[in-house]
Symmetry: C2
Subunit: 173 residues, 2 copies
């Protein structure tokens, strides 16, 4: 592990973190690569050493944000008792909403981008979460697992909006 490699890896994740912040705050299309670079404390062209296009950076940022949710839920699924499963999943999501608000805001933005590569990434992330929750509900012997999964996801999406618009009256958790 040379000094170079270490820096390089850090730079890449610096850029991703900066991109998540700037994209979430400003909006992906309005945000500029110069703003991302400034936040990451590098020069603007240097972003393109790690990401061939701005869109490639967005896709990586989305992957990070979905991994956050999926890993968090997986831990709950692997450890929670059947009775506590749904409660703990909800708690895990609340933690994400509070600690990684920008990642959620970025996912919400990406939901409306009509670009096939991005829609694919979003379908992938959403589908994986749904599948994991559904399997977990079934394994826990929860009746109407299909319906309960849908309601769980639906409440999550309403929480997103509640957080994004600062409407606490919608946060029914």
């Amino acid at each position: 592990m040379t000094k170079f490699e270490t820096k390089s890896v850090n730079r890449k994740s610096d850029i991703i973190s900066a991109a998540i912040e700037v994209f979430a705050e400003t909006g992906y299309f309005r945000a500029t690569t110069a703003q991302v670079a400034e936040r990451a404390k590098i020069s603007q062209p240097y972003i393109f050493r790690f990401f061939s296009t701005k869109e490639a950076l967005l896709l990586t940022a989305l992957e990070v944000s979905w991994t956050r949710v999926i890993d968090s839920f997986r831990k709950v699924v692997e450890s929670a008792s059947p009775e506590q499963l749904e409660t703990e999943l909800i708690q895990a999501y609340v933690v994400i909403l509070e600690s990684y608000r920008n990642e959620v805001l970025l996912q919400m933005q990406a939901q409306t981008i009509q670009e096939e590569s991005i829609r694919e990434a979003m379908r992938g992330g959403f589908g994986e979460v749904r599948h994991m929750v559904l399997d977990a509900f079934r394994s826990a012997g929860i009746p109407n697992a299909e319906e309960r999964t849908m309601l769980f996801l639906a409440r999550g999406m309403l929480c997103n909006i509640s957080a994004a618009l600062a409407m606490p009256e919608l946060m029914g958790i």
Copy 2:
């Protein structure tokens, strides 16, 4: 009603309709006023006779889209029987999702725009819908009206995502 006034009104609503389409398809920040003008079959500068800024046009487009939902729900609330209330509200929303997809996509975009004027418009629209549904559920004697309203809204938001990402497996209606 002179010929002038009539034309002028038509132009304005032409522009709004075009803006809803173009903003929804392309994304508000990426979409250009030239694209909106082309869709409305007018010149680009002429947009600014009716809307002082691009953002003013967005706000008007959002108002139109919220009016669509609110008027539609009001009709249901004023006519439906207590037993059929929720079912008919859901049906009304499905119609909107199918017939005015672009307006819904625009609302979804606006949910993530961190600009106070836009957040205010979104809070206003969302709040009015919530209030109307909650009152109607209470008037209909539905138990746990608060909770049922939340679930109704939550399912609606999941339907939006299902439609936006083309994930029919999420459409649980």
